[in-house]
Amino acid sequence: MAFKDFIFKKSLWLFHFGGASCNNCDIEILDCLTPRYDVERFGMQLVGSIRHADVLLVNGSINKKDKVRLLEIYHQAPKPILVVAIGACGCTGGIFAEGNTFAGPVDKIIPVDVYIPGCPPKPEAIIGGIVNLINKQPA
């Protein structure tokens, strides 16, 4: 087993970037960490700095002001990093795609590995996305 495969096997550390969202996805992500769903039992936890993270969670539509910050975050991230786009806005821009400050869905800005659609995705869907994520190793 290669070293990279080994480090992405268990205990993924997550960094959460909330773009111009409506908070629903943010809450559902947090909800996954609380007792009912409790993904922390797999060693997954939110960390305060992107420099400690294995996974970058991005939700919400990205506006022009966020775009600069998202790129900055992505450049600060230790590579390889897995990027997850959460929610309709993260995947496509959703209802805000026609807005005058919209700067393109997440995959137009940084490469995305896993998409979790839904408005907001249920915690079950997020856990399903996590399973996909564990099965998908970064190149």
């Binding site: 506006n63 022009k64 002001k65 600069v68 005058n100 400050t101």
Partner: protein
């Protein structure tokens, strides 16, 4: 007891006779009063300090008549909402700031300045509130000619 919009408008006409241009009463608790722009600070002061109305927010838009601003005031005893309506000219719209009266107007005026380009006189800090760096100086996205 103040409370009914018709009483408020009657009193207002007594004090600021020439500055009240138009009024319309929609219901027991809703009314709009069009006022002269130069009288806005005095009338707002009257609402805020004498009648103890709470400033909710101001809504601005661009229309055929120029730039219109609705200042919404609420009486929390009776549930009455009064909209003070001013119309500013399309060329060089400017009006006195209300921030000196109540802090609540501070952010709203910055936002209107940024999105519609309305100038607020004597405002402490008219920096951009929302879009810093997003659109250029002199570009106002909520104006009709945007894009």
């Amino acid at each position: 007891m103040m409370g009914k919009p018709e009483d408020i408008i009657k009193d207002l006409k007594g004090i600021f006779s020439i500055d009240i241009l138009d009024d319309s009463i929609k219901s027991e608790t809703r009314a709009s009063i069009q006022i002269a722009e130069k009288a806005l600070p005095e009338i707002s002061k009257y609402f805020h300090e004498d009648l103890h109305f709470r400033f909710i927010i101001a809504s601005a838009l661009e229309s055929k008549r120029g730039f219109e601003i609705y200042y919404h005031f609420s009486d929390d005893q009776t549930g009455c909402v009064i909209n003070l309506h001013v119309i500013l000219p399309t060329e060089n719209p400017e009006i006195e700031s209300l921030t000196a009266l109540f802090e609540a107007a501070n952010w709203m005026e910055r936002e209107m300045h940024e999105l519609l380009g309305i100038n607020f006189l004597n405002h402490p800090n008219l920096e951009k509130l929302i879009s810093e760096g997003n659109w250029a100086e002199g570009v106002y996205p909520y104006r009709k000619n945007y894009e």
